[in-house]
């Protein structure tokens, strides 16, 4: 338990870092270690290849996508959106995070071909942030009504929403 609080990688994760840096080298734009967790930043073009290697490699064996999420940094004007994938290896009990940064309107290839569980995650990321995933079988609203306007988890979207509390004009025509 105390191990994960230190900013030191476990030997298994050090091996993961070594293998990924030797395989991808320059394509890993940024590496960070924080609280025993390893994070790599890749370019959107390399997203699928890196994730596929993480899954198919015998030694890495990241066979589960724990979650895929988006993030919005309005302060970063050139690449405000970020998509992160938290990977887990069940045989090796290791974890890894791969992130990528996207410009406004830039789309990302889908990971549903690698892990089917990415389907719902990517739909949610799209509907909350507006990041389009190319190749996704059904990129439509998941948690919100299909006619919802706006992308709620962006920082410029108000918490109460565009409609407000009691008088739900967005129900018009649906009753």
């Amino acid at each position: 338990m105390a191990q994960s609080h230190l900013d030191e990688l476990s030997p298994a994760l050090k091996a993961v870092q070594k293998e990924l840096t030797s395989k991808f080298g320059k394509k890993l734009l940024d590496t960070s270690v924080f609280r025993g967790e390893l994070t790599f930043v890749v370019a959107p073009e390399d997203w699928v290849s890196v994730l596929t290697y993480c899954k198919e490699s015998e030694s890495l064996a990241f066979d589960r996508l724990d979650c895929l999420l988006g993030n919005h940094y309005p302060g970063r004007t050139d690449q405000p959106f970020e998509v992160a994938a938290n990977l887990t290896s069940i045989p090796n009990t290791t974890r890894l995070r791969i992130k990528t940064q996207l410009a406004e309107g830039q789309s990302l290839a889908t990971a549903t071909g690698i892990w089917p569980s990415a389907n719902f995650d990517e739909r949610e990321t799209w509907e909350m942030f507006g990041v389009v995933f190319e190749g996704h079988p059904n990129l439509e609203r998941l948690l919100l009504i299909p006619e919802f306007k706006g992308f709620p988890l962006r920082k410029d979207f108000p918490l109460e929403g565009l409609v407000g509390g009691r008088i739900r004009t967005d129900l018009k025509g649906k009753l």
Binding site: M1, A2, S4, H5, L6, F34, R35, E37, T39, D63, R64, L65, D66, C67, L69, N71, H72, A84, N86, I90, T93, R95, R97, W115, P116, S117, N119, F120, M128, R141, L142, L143, L144, P152, L153, F157, L159
Partner: protein, 424 residues
């Protein structure tokens, strides 16, 4: 078939553990084939339905009685917890996490506090870790009791829900004694727990733990060899370990597929490194195996709570960290330093460092992950909650395909979904 281990005496009966290939074959045999000349009838098993799993909608294509395709529709209970969490300090988010999977509230509190403590790098005192373990295992027992009641009720034995609620009331009484609330506990705090164990809690808990095993054995006697349950649960809903990994199905469903993964063992937290317990694993990967896993988990939880009560260390229940921890009220009323600390924590919030962590805990229904992104301010920049139920709802797509209509609700119940946790 796997051979029994060489260095032990062979068991009295042969334990047959199906391999992955065998399970794949079994799955192919037990699922109905899809005919080429099928006529598909689309049925909306709409958000309001008699099974008690919450407002889940599945638009199912049927070929006769056989499921051809499933399109789950979730979001009927979406509140925007992640958006709301960005406008609250870390202390204020704890009651939000309660209401995710509301049947096992403390488990979510615990997961969130573990994630934030990892971010801060905070060490929780020993007594608090043991109390957290006790409360977490209490939620495991109460969650599995509720699950059992509803699951068996889905199969038609309606009295079981009443029976399990009777046992659950004892657990909820214990929670009321511990933290004042029956259902939404909000008992965990960053750096420890909210209150110490009250006087008389240990005796009452031991009393409850003494008769719970007899009740659980009674249920096992009623259900384990029950012909109707066996017919409805054996070889139904087989979901192998590779399916579980691909579809991010965790918890009892993963352990029922033969994978010995339990975060209490693999990535220990709280008092689990110091407690002896067995990870409940079954190998058949069907509805019956998931039922067996949960029954054994209940028995293990009882053992864990007993060990925690026996080995409860003395000491503080909150870490000594003025920058991140809410002090105890009695200290606030007596000491100026604690009053200032309380003021800062309430009006400003904890001074967490900037960074990003992802921490998972083993809740009763699966692995719950909190991805906390902090930019150094007392409110999170982004909080993403990877709930197991979200992925279990998605997993209805592969799980229901090829199964018959009559089995669909049983399979859904066996993965224990709660829509509040799915939709956040």
């Amino acid at each position: 078939m796997s051979a029994p281990s060489q260095d032990q005496a062979p068991p009295a009966f042969t334990v047959l553990r199906p391999t992955l290939e065998e399970l794949r074959d079994r799955k192919a045999r037990t699922r109905q084939p899809v005919r080429d000349d099928r006529e598909v009838l689309t049925v909306s098993m709409g958000p309001h339905h008699p099974s008690m799993h919450g407002v889940f909608r599945a638009v199912v294509d049927f070929d006769g009685e056989v499921v051809v395709a499933v399109r789950p529709e979730v979001g009927n209970l979406h509140r925007g917890v992640e958006k709301l969490a960005e406008s609250l300090t870390y202390h204020q988010i704890i009651p939000l996490t309660d209401r995710l999977h509301y049947v096992a509230s403390f488990a979510q509190n615990h997961g969130f506090c573990e994630a934030v403590e990892k971010l801060i790098g905070l060490e929780v005192p020993a007594r608090a870790r043991f109390i957290r373990t006790i409360a977490h295992e209490m939620t495991r027992i109460s969650n599995h009791l509720l699950w059992l009641g509803i699951h068996i009720m889905d199969f038609g034995a309606i009295t079981f829900q009443q029976i399990c609620f009777r046992e659950r009331e004892y657990m909820m009484d214990m929670f009321e004694m511990l933290c004042g609330a029956r259902l939404t506990h909000s008992f965990c705090r960053i750096g420890g727990v909210a209150k110490d164990l009250p006087d008389g809690f240990a005796e009452r808990m031991r009393g409850a733990l003494d008769f719970l095993p007899t009740r659980i054995s009674e249920y096992e006697r009623l259900i384990d060899q029950n012909r109707i349950f066996l017919k409805r649960a054996k070889d139904i809903g087989i979901f192998t370990s590779e399916d579980c990994a691909a579809w991010r199905v965790t918890g009892p469903a993963l352990r029922a597929a033969g994978v010995e993964r339990d975060l209490r063992r693999n990535e220990p937290y709280a008092a689990y490194p110091e407690i002896e317990f067995e990870v409940a694993v079954e190998y058949e990967a069907d509805v019956y195996a998931r039922y067996r896993v949960r029954m054994r988990e209940m028995q293990e939880s009882i053992k864990i709570i007993r060990q925690c009560l026996d080995n409860m260390p003395d000491g503080p229940i909150l870490a000594k960290d003025a920058a991140h921890v809410m002090p105890r009220k009695k200290d606030v009323m007596r000491s100026a330093a604690a009053m200032v600390q309380d003021f800062m924590q309430v009006f400003v919030g904890p001074q967490v460092p900037a960074g990003e962590v992802y921490r998972s805990v083993e809740t009763p229904h699966g692995e719950l992950g909190f991805h906390v992104v902090s930019d150094g301010s007392p409110k999170p920049q982004r909080l993403h909650i990877a709930t197991p139920c979200f992925f279990h709802c998605q997993a209805t797509t592969p799980m229901w395909e090829g199964e018959m209509l009559a089995d669909v609700v049983g399979i859904f119940g066996s993965v224990d979904v709660c829509l509040g946790s799915c939709d956040r």
